[in-house]
């Protein structure tokens, strides 16, 4: 005979909330009407405080009786004295409750952890799928991963950041972002894979473990959600935000020209119809302002890595001017090593150098702002490929790209760890 989930039965019996350690449920089988009457009387007494889960009604139908541990002996004596046969259905109610809770928790976790670790990392996903996966990741790694909301996009979408932390209070931190240009789909995909790698790699990978034991990692996977939604619904090659400009029919600001570092200079545009439109003023875009507020408020970010595609490059400041950054030599050395470790995986060749020398002059970029805000180890990746597929990188290259980029990311993180400032 199946026992109803005990929790449901308790609700039906309207027991007051308390623990049930040692309490038992007895199944009692009255053999005549006299015994039935006796059993009914038992219920009406306030002492012992027993409770029928199934009332004694007629002969041939057993009654189920919840007996608190303090009254067990008394009730058993009573039943024995009147020759009423009974058996123990539940030996310790609290134990059963605990086991049931655990099973339910595990069932929920299995249902979702099979989606956190068995997520199809080798495909491109929608925003809903990515957000759902992020929740699963947090649920599967509750002591390491949490989700923060920085703010909202222009169209009101949440700006979510995953926080990886092993504790401490306002530890020095590394910031990673992907998808700031929505059409660069390989970057959000690499962001997902990397988040999973960080979550599952703690205590497995010695370098990552060393980083996480002292530092926190923040990762914003969908940095431009309005643009990303638009690449799915309307224009796969959309780059900017979806903010409206007064006096223009054109839409969107280039988030990587909207930062207050050389804002307004060469390599950015004042024309709302341009792909390089810088916006009406620095930090005009909510998506940028949210990150600015977060990093400034945090006060202890030591590295910013902003991930783009394509061109196969690892870049550092400056973009807005050709003059070398004060830390040019050190940043160049870090980039050189990272690019070498990346190439060691599958032979993919990256070039490296400052933005202005390597790719073009660009004013108002993320990493120029970060660097001038005091974040020394600021880098931008331009991931695969070098032009053959460009933004439309085949999904079968997602995992190889993420796999080869990982050691380069780790190099930067380890360098930040080993060179505190």
């Amino acid at each position: 005979m199946r026992i109803l989930p005990v929790l449901a039965a308790l609700a039906a019996a309207a027991c007051s909330r308390r623990t049930f350690v040692g309490d038992q449920v007895l199944r009692i089988t009255p053999s005549d009407q006299e015994q039935v009457a006796l059993l009914r009387l038992l219920d009406q007494q306030t002492d012992p405080e027993v409770n029928y889960w199934r009332h004694p009604t007629t002969l041939g139908h057993p009654a189920d009786l919840l007996v608190p541990s303090s009254s067990l002996q008394e009730v058993k004596d009573f039943l024995e004295h009147h020759n009423i046969s009974s058996c123990i259905m539940i030996e310790d109610l609290q134990k059963l409750l605990d086991e049931e809770s655990k099973t339910m928790r595990e069932a929920r976790r299995t249902k979702r952890s099979s989606s956190s670790s068995t997520f199809d990392f080798g495909s491109y996903h929608t925003m809903e799928e990515i957000y759902s996966w992020m929740d699963a990741l947090v649920e599967d790694h509750p002591t390491l991963v949490s989700k923060i909301q920085l703010g909202q996009s222009y169209e009101g979408r949440p700006l979510y950041v995953l926080k990886f932390s092993t504790g401490g209070s306002n530890r020095s931190a590394i910031w990673l972002d992907t998808g700031i240009h929505s059409r660069e789909w390989i970057t959000q995909a690499v962001g997902i894979w990397t988040a999973s790698k960080i979550a599952t790699g703690y205590r497995q990978d010695p370098s990552l473990t060393a980083v996480l034991d002292s530092m926190d990692i923040f990762l914003e996977i969908i940095t431009n959600p309005d643009g990303f939604a638009f690449t799915h619904s309307s224009d796969r090659l959309w780059r900017k935000t979806r903010s409206l400009s007064a006096g223009s029919h054109c839409v969107g600001v280039d988030l990587n020209r909207n930062w207050a570092a050389g804002f307004g200079g060469s390599g950015s545009s004042s024309d709302p119809c341009s792909e390089l439109y810088r916006g009406p003023y620095a930090h005009s875009e909510r998506e940028v302002q949210a990150i600015v507020d977060f990093i400034r408020g945090h006060g202890n970010v030591k590295s910013v890595v902003s991930i783009h595609s394509y061109s196969q490059m690892l870049l550092f400041p400056y973009g807005y001017k050709t003059a070398p950054a004060p830390d040019h030599q050190e940043l160049n050395e870090v980039a050189k090593k990272a690019v070498s470790d990346l190439a060691a995986v599958f032979g993919t060749k990256y070039s490296y150098g400052s933005i202005a020398q390597t790719i073009y002059i660009a004013a108002g970029t993320t990493i120029d702002w970060a660097y001038e805000s005091g974040v020394r180890y600021s880098f931008t990746f331009e991931l695969r490929d070098s032009g053959r597929h460009g933004f439309l990188l085949p999904s079968n290259q997602i995992i190889p790209t993420a796999t080869e980029t990982w050691p380069a990311l780790l190099d930067i993180m380890v360098h930040a760890l080993e060179h505190p400032y």
Binding site: R236, H249, E275, G353, Q357, Y360, R388
Partner: protein, 219 residues
């Protein structure tokens, strides 16, 4: 003559122009050539003519991962008049893989179609190209090489982003004709530029772009 770091953008842009032109001359439905590496680059200012880049490049056959074709190229960007295309001269070292068989198969397949071939969004959003459309994509890569070369300056870097639309046009002669609308990605301005091109091809005569015109961009 000024030596240029191969990993910096001036060499990169000139190399992209050279690679585009070489694709036009040697690419086709059976062969895709990609820029593998820039071994060296120098820039020479030529009085009254323009700016000439001397390049040593390594090209790769898309279908042969281990292939490496060395190549020297010169790209002369003309002074002043930005409407004049750069001039490209090149020499390939060694032989390119023979594509006669693949070309013949493609040629016969298209010639024997009842209805004109028509397709759009190659690659699709996920970056995938159906195998039977791969030669159409490679042909666009070769033809776009011409358009790219014709429209390049020292301040541009074009790549073929996507075939938006392609339609075969049946001809009475032995040539195959495809009318393409492609999207070019210009990396310096980051613009996506639609471009119409009429492409003819024959296994023995190679690729020709008979007409091409830049289309208005959407907001």
């Amino acid at each position: 003559m000024e030596e240029l770091p191969p990993s910096h953008y001036p060499a990169g842009r000139a190399a992209a122009v050279a690679a585009a032109f070489i694709r036009y001359r040697h690419g086709g439905p059976g062969r895709g050539l990609a820029l593998g590496a820039i071994r060296s680059a120098c820039r020479e200012d030529i009085a009254a003519a323009g700016c000439k880049y001397h390049l040593e490049l390594v090209l790769q056959d898309i279908h042969d991962k281990d292939s490496a074709v060395n190549c020297t190229a010169e790209v002369l960007y003309p002074l002043g008049n930005k409407n004049t295309a750069p001039d490209v001269q090149f020499t390939l070292e060694g032989e390119l893989r023979n594509t006669d068989e693949a070309d013949g198969v493609f040629y016969n397949r298209i010639k024997s179609l009842d209805k004109e071939l028509m397709a759009k969004n190659i690659p699709d959003s996920q970056g995938n190209i159906p195998p039977e459309l791969e030669p159409i994509h490679l042909l666009a890569g070769a033809a776009s090489g011409y358009v790219i070369c014709q429209n390049s300056t020292e301040n541009t870097n074009f790549q073929l982003a996507q075939i938006k639309h392609v339609k075969q046009v049946k001809r009475s002669d032995e040539y195959l004709q495809f009318d393409y609308v492609i999207l070019l990605h210009e990396m310096v301005s980051q613009e996506i530029i639609p471009w119409e091109m009429t492409v003819t091809w024959h296994p023995r005569h190679g690729v020709q772009v008979s007409q091409d015109s830049r289309q208005p961009q959407s907001a």
